[in-house]
């Protein structure tokens, strides 16, 4: 099965000369665009699509936990302001975004800690 899959990919690369474009940068752009189209195809609203694209971008080009936590803090500070301005919908969407950012920060903390330990053992 894997062999057949590999043959097909090989054929695809040869025929469409994809290989010369297939450097990491182009592949990353393709994945980001694909995540955007996937969100549209699944009928998500624009906020969820942007969060999804951001998550994929974060996996490809990770921001450090410090940067992520700084962004989270700024956005958290914005929440009460929006709440007092009675922008309830926007506040709700921003709160979801902050939750996602904090989750990513948590994931990045674990990932960075694991990498540090690996480095220590070496």
């Amino acid at each position: 099965m894997i062999k057949l899959f590999a043959t097909k990919i090989d054929y695809f690369l040869k025929v469409f000369e994809v290989k010369k474009y297939l450097n990491r940068r182009y592949l990353d752009y393709f994945l980001l665009a694909f995540s955007l189209f996937l969100g549209l195809y699944l009928d998500w609203d624009i906020t969820n699509i942007l969060i999804f694209v951001f998550v994929i971008w974060q996996i490809l080009y990770p921001l450090s936990r410090l940067t992520l936590s700084k962004i989270s803090l700024v956005l958290i500070a914005l929440l009460p302001v929006l709440f007092f301005l009675k922008e309830e919908d926007l506040t709700e969407k921003l709160a979801i975004l902050v939750f996602c950012l904090l989750s990513l920060t948590f994931a990045m903390t674990i990932s960075e800690r694991l990498k540090t330990r690996k480095g220590e053992s070496i």
Binding site: A6, T7, D10, L31, D43, I59
Partner: protein, 531 residues
């Protein structure tokens, strides 16, 4: 060459673990990520709001006050009687406040800003106050009816419907107090006749497969069923499309009978409308109205045949991990039936009708005294299950099946166009009538044409010709209207609906022939002599 390529792919994913992670995320999102909510439901919400408005149902939702035009027209020096129904519902997010009451004012208003308070009502969530009657004399002109929440609270939905105003032929307060009390037909749907409530449910049964049916066999304890209460929970959005509840006869040897006795379609978004008031959380009343034979076995089933769903957007039903009595729970997947040693939580309800002089008063019918010996009888259907419950008799066949059922898609009553099926409504006006006006609709379109008759004695029938008859290409309804003059000595009139044999033959050849005829929106008014 091939081995080299496989190794290259393996190497690529080993070095670039992030791509493997993204591939996994894409796969999971593709399988489980479809949004079943938004666009279609938004569109249908809008069209539903319009349909409610044209049916005379007014909602006070995201504001504190609602002004309704063209339902009242009040002049000074005249007394009036106003009827309306009022209901209140606390939305799901606000359920923490359940038990509280909402005070609602009903007022008259005009363009000059004058207001006249009719009454203040305290409503609890899920409560429906039906046929509220208000008699008043006016010293001013009023063109609007207003409803106002005393404490602004956007979590409450207040609905006012069936507003009707009548001018009274009275000169002073003493004549008002000498008016005969109005007679109202209120059908109580809360009479519980059967239950297997054995405390908190300890099992849940989820719709996780395509073409799945989950059901429960029960032995009928009464001759009529109107609703079944189930404990259900919507997971995520609940999926897109209509779930369907159905009621069948059940035979211990032959299993589920092919013919449905009743069915009800609902989507997860509108399940909130079926929340059982005053009951525990997640209890929903599903209308399944049918005549039963006491002691006979029946089965109710819920299916997801028309639902697009996934594990995070579906519906679950609560029950018990043990069998209740001798009754079995059934699971049907793609037609394969399996008996289970569990049981579903359910309660069965039957209607209780109001009577006057040993005569049943149809649901929502009102007999009122207008003063000076004149009275008025009104009856109007609403497209709910009481349209079926109000039927006086149906064509009984030896099979015991009369194939007449409440059709919640049509919002009326449907019947199979075979064996000469018919159904009859009986209107008893309590007092003698001189003039009787009838209007009703049959579905038109792919339905077999209906034929409508009236009679004073349930024997000799006069045909009512359709005012408009629409072709199969049109989905518009056929309309029937008639004004009947009695001899002033009658207080009963019968209305029979059958089907046209010719239409049935013609439509049998159509590909989308549905083999049904139907009736909806019956509206009746009569002039009465109250002396």
């Amino acid at each position: 060459m091939k081995n080299i390529r496989i190794n290259e792919i393996k190497k690529f994913f080993t070095i670039n673990k992030s791509y493997l992670l993204i591939f996994l995320i894409f796969t999971l999102v593709f399988v489980y990520g479809r949004n079943f909510g938004d666009r279609e439901s938004l569109f249908s919400d809008k069209s539903e709001q319009l349909a409610r408005l044209s049916a005379g149902v007014y909602d006070l939702k995201n504001s504190n006050e609602l002004t309704i035009e063209r339902v009242v027209n009040v002049s000074p020096g005249i007394s009036y009687r106003l009827f309306f129904n009022l209901s209140a519902m606390l939305n799901q997010q606000g359920s923490r406040k359940s038990g509280e009451k909402l005070a609602v004012e009903v007022l008259l208003g005009n363009d000059l800003g004058d207001e006249k308070l009719l009454q203040t009502y305290n409503l609890s969530s899920g409560e429906k106050q039906l046929a509220i009657e208000n008699i008043f004399s006016s010293d001013n002109y009023y063109q609007y009816l207003k409803i106002r929440k005393i404490d602004p609270d956007y979590q409450w939905l207040v609905t006012i419907f069936d507003i009707s105003e009548f001018a009274l032929d009275v000169k002073n307060q003493s004549e008002i107090s000498s008016l005969k009390p109005s007679i109202k037909g209120i059908t109580d749907l809360n009479q519980q006749i059967q239950s297997n409530d054995a405390g908190g449910p300890d099992a849940e049964f989820k719709f996780s497969r395509k073409n799945q049916k989950i059901g429960q066999v029960f032995t009928a304890d009464s001759n009529l069923i109107s609703e079944i209460e189930l404990k259900m929970e919507i997971i995520g959005t609940g999926g897109a499309g209509n779930y369907q509840a159905e009621l069948h006869e059940h035979d211990p040897t032959n299993g589920i009978s092919a013919d449905r006795l009743a069915y009800y379609k609902f989507d997860a978004g509108h399940l909130v409308d079926r929340l059982a008031s005053g009951s525990e959380k997640n209890s929903y009343r599903i209308p399944l109205v049918a005549k039963l034979v006491k002691g006979k076995q029946y089965v109710f089933l819920l299916n997801n045949l028309e639902v697009k769903f996934n594990p995070i957007n579906t519906l679950k039903i609560y029950g018990y991990k043990r069998q209740h009595g001798d009754q079995k729970m059934l699971s049907v997947i793609s037609g394969k039936q399996k008996e289970k040693s569990d049981s579903l939580y359910f309660k069965i309800f039957a209607p209780n009708y109001s009577e006057t002089q040993s005569e049943r008063i149809l649901t929502g019918a009102v007999v009122q005294d207008l003063g000076s010996g004149r009275g008025f009888y009104t009856y109007k259907q609403h497209g709910d299950l009481t349209d079926f419950l109000d039927i006086f008799e149906t064509s009984n066949h030896t099979s015991g099946q009369d194939n007449v059922f409440y059709d919640n898609i049509l919002k009326g009553v449907s019947a199979k166009d075979l064996d000469g099926n018919w159904l009859t409504y009986k209107f008893n006006t309590i007092y003698l009538f001189s003039k009787f006006a009838i209007s009703l609709e049959s579905p038109g379109g792919d339905f077999t044409d209906s034929e409508v008759f009236y009679s004073f004695d349930n024997i000799a029938w006069e045909k009512i010709k359709p005012k408009e008859r629409n072709t199969a290409q049109s989905d518009a309804a056929d309309k029937f209207e008639a004004v009947v003059f009695g001899d002033g000595q009658k207080k009963e009139i019968f209305l029979r609906v059958g089907y046209s044999e010719n239409s049935s033959r013609e439509k049998k050849d159509l590909i989308n022939h549905i083999g049904l005829f139907g009736i909806k929106n019956i509206k009746v008014a009569a002039d009465l002599r109250m002396l």
